[in-house]
């Protein structure tokens, strides 16, 4: 049998903890971890673009938010949508939007790409913000969670928070595994090659535009999956879910964890949301309510993280193991 690497063992241990969590945790924590895992899927989808293909998108929330709106439209008032129909529909809509936007934005690169993705996401934001059909600036409620019925038989119900938790956990593992396989395939090698040197990939005969577009659409579809479950859990969608603060914070998750690794994106999602909660719990000092102004500390944290943690939290671990190995190398040399 192949020996398991330490990283894999840690990963499996984390998975075991996550699988056992509902057995001992209160409802609040189960729901919190559901939310974190949804954001982890979202972060992984962005990591596919930022960390692997080298495309820094600042408009990724557009696909996340759109899928939420699709769920809201698919569930007319007080009536639940069917999961097996509305989930693929939502993901397809996000994918279609990603195809449309991607075909345009991938004509640019570098700084332009960042600005243009932001601008197009903002266009989608205004589409929902300024028009009535999506509830305008107020957003709309998703009154009932989607039902997972196949011809009358219901394998699980999302109204139950533990069921919801396990559905999301299974999806997280599936998305992680699928992306791992994708990245290990020739396709994965090509997109990493594009990040490192696009000209070289072109001269090798790869049509890099197509590869980038496929990545962009795939990332959009996965962001849609996350957005669908976020809307189902929260029961509410508003233009803010497509806004650029959402795009910024998911980008922060990817960087914080350490981009270019899927585990980094997941780690980043956990770290960011737990940090956010911690900051919202800050005490009141004198006349100043620190918890109300938690974003001040979040901003400061982001600035410091960029300056001090260039390789994210995972980079911290690698640094530690490098330091530990040093004496051995010195002896060998």
């Amino acid at each position: 049998m192949r020996r398991l690497r330490p990283g894999t063992i840690v990963l499996l241990a984390c998975l075991l903890v996550l699988a056992l969590l509902p057995a001992f945790a209160e409802k609040y924590y189960v729901q919190l971890f559901t939310k974190i895992m949804i954001m982890a899927i979202f972060a992984m989808s962005l990591d596919l673009l930022v960390g692997f293909t080298g495309l820094v998108s600042l408009g990724h929330a557009a696909f996340f938010g759109l899928a939420g709106y699709v769920l809201a439209f698919a569930a007319p008032q007080y009536e639940a949508a069917n999961l097996w129909l509305s989930l693929p529909l939502a993901m397809a809509c996000s994918g279609l939007l990603a195809l449309l936007i991607g075909a345009l934005v991938l004509r640019t690169s570098g700084i332009y790409f960042i600005m243009v993705t932001l601008a197009f996401a903002q266009m989608v934001f205004f589409l929902f913000h300024d028009t009535e059909f999506g509830g305008g600036a107020d957003g709309i409620y998703v009154y009932a969670k989607p039902v997972a019925a196949i011809a009358g038989w219901e394998p699980f119900t999302l109204e139950n928070h533990v069921h919801f938790y396990f559905v999301v956990l299974v999806l997280l593992v599936l998305v992680y595994a699928a992306l791992r396989m994708l990245l290990a395939s020739l396709f994965g090698r090509v997109i990493v090659g594009i990040r490192v040197n696009e000209q070289r990939m072109k001269s090798l005969g790869y049509r890099t535009f197509r590869y980038k577009l496929v990545c962009f659409v795939l990332a959009g579809v996965l962001a849609g999956m996350a957005g669908y479950f976020a809307a189902a859990q929260f029961g509410f969608v508003s233009p803010e879910t497509l806004g650029w603060h959402q795009s910024g914070s998911v980008l922060m998750m990817v960087i914080l964890g350490g981009m270019g690794t899927l585990t980094g994106a997941v780690l980043g999602a956990f770290a960011m949301i737990l940090l956010e909660l911690g900051l919202q719990d800050l005490p009141r000092i004198g006349g100043l309510d620190l918890a109300k102004h938690w974003q001040l500390f979040m901003g400061g944290f982001i600035v410091l993280a960029v300056l001090l943690l260039p390789h994210g939290l995972l980079g911290l671990g690698q640094l530690a193991s490098k330091l530990r190995r040093k004496p051995v190398e010195a002896r060998d040399g």
């Binding site: 820094v56 004509r107 601008a119 901003g299």
Partner: protein, 298 residues
């Protein structure tokens, strides 16, 4: 739409465009010369507006407030470049995005701590309070004309600075080849610091003169930032001339998008979707010229 309304909308569009130009020109210079993507640029616009609001109350005069505000804005620009931005020159754009995003959160929250979350107004200075009557019912405020004039003067001044002075020559050379300029004995770090401070001052000044007509409110900077990205994309990165043309174009498109009624198949498109118009324009430009109207083809 009669001729007078048309004239008013043209003036409004140009005035809005010129205001955008002030913010976008700093953004495009910082991008083109320093290679820094600065998300916090819109925040400086907001800082300017809040400075105008607080200082005009303190001094009792908008003019003194503007003078003091520009000094403070330059100081903010110098300190930020020295403390944070200068560490980003050799880093990927991604980190520039994140750091400046962090700055937005901090500035926005500091604003909330100091000024609260209410909407404030700033009074138009006494002698600009008049309106020019066009017809019996329509008139055009002098302050808006004054705004356009000031922006135009600044635009000409910037053209002169960049094209005709020694400093401008160094700035242009620095954009073309940083190492070469440095090896000719020019302190490029100081030059970058000045360019950044100039950009901050321009954005803040735009916020100050806009404060009396646009009011002062939370989040006002982000709205401007994203429109200015569109301006820079359409005009071409680093091109001040492109920024001017694109800004006026967008000012007009945005203004007319809000007053023209357009229906298609019974569905009202404009002004309902006027917020999207500028992005549609950007999409068209991207299809035709991905590098922008005045950008360098790569």
């Amino acid at each position: 739409m009669d001729a007078n309304t048309f004239l008013i909308q043209i003036l409004n569009g140009i005035q809005y465009g010129l205001l955008l130009f002030l913010v976008a020109s700093g953004l495009t210079l910082i991008l083109g010369i320093m290679g820094i993507i600065n998300l916090a640029h819109g925040t400086f616009y907001m800082v300017g507006a809040y400075l105008a609001f607080s200082l005009s109350q303190y001094f009792g005069s908008l003019w003194l407030a503007m003078a003091g505000g520009v000094v403070i804005a330059v100081a903010i620009g110098l300190v930020l470049e020295w403390l944070l931005i200068s560490r980003l020159y050799h880093r990927d754009h991604l980190y520039q995005v994140l750091l400046t995003y962090g700055l937005i959160l901090m500035f926005e929250e500091l604003r909330s701590v100091v000024f609260g979350d209410d909407v404030h107004g700033v009074a138009v200075p006494e002698f600009l309070r008049a309106s020019i009557p066009l017809t019996e019912t329509l008139s055009y405020p002098v302050y808006r004309l004054w705004m356009s004039a000031v922006c135009l003067v600044l635009a000409v001044g910037m053209y002169f600075l960049i094209q005709k002075t020694r400093l401008g020559m160094i700035i242009r050379a620095g954009a073309a080849n940083r190492e070469m300029v440095q090896s000719l004995g020019i302190n490029i770090n100081l030059l970058y610091r000045l360019v950044f401070a100039l950009g901050v001052a321009l954005a803040a000044f735009a916020g100050m003169i806009a404060a009396p007509v646009a009011s002062v409110f939370p989040g006002m900077g982000n709205q401007v930032l994203i429109i200015c990205f569109v301006v820079v994309v359409i005009g071409g990165i680093g091109s001040v001339k492109g920024a001017l043309l694109a800004a006026i174009l967008i000012g007009l498109v945005d203004t007319f998008g809000k007053v023209i009624t357009l229906e298609f198949g019974g569905v009202q498109l404009l002004p309902q979707l006027s917020g999207m118009m500028v992005y549609v324009l950007m999409a068209v430009v991207l299809l035709a010229r991905p590098e922008g109207l005045f950008g360098k083809r790569t």
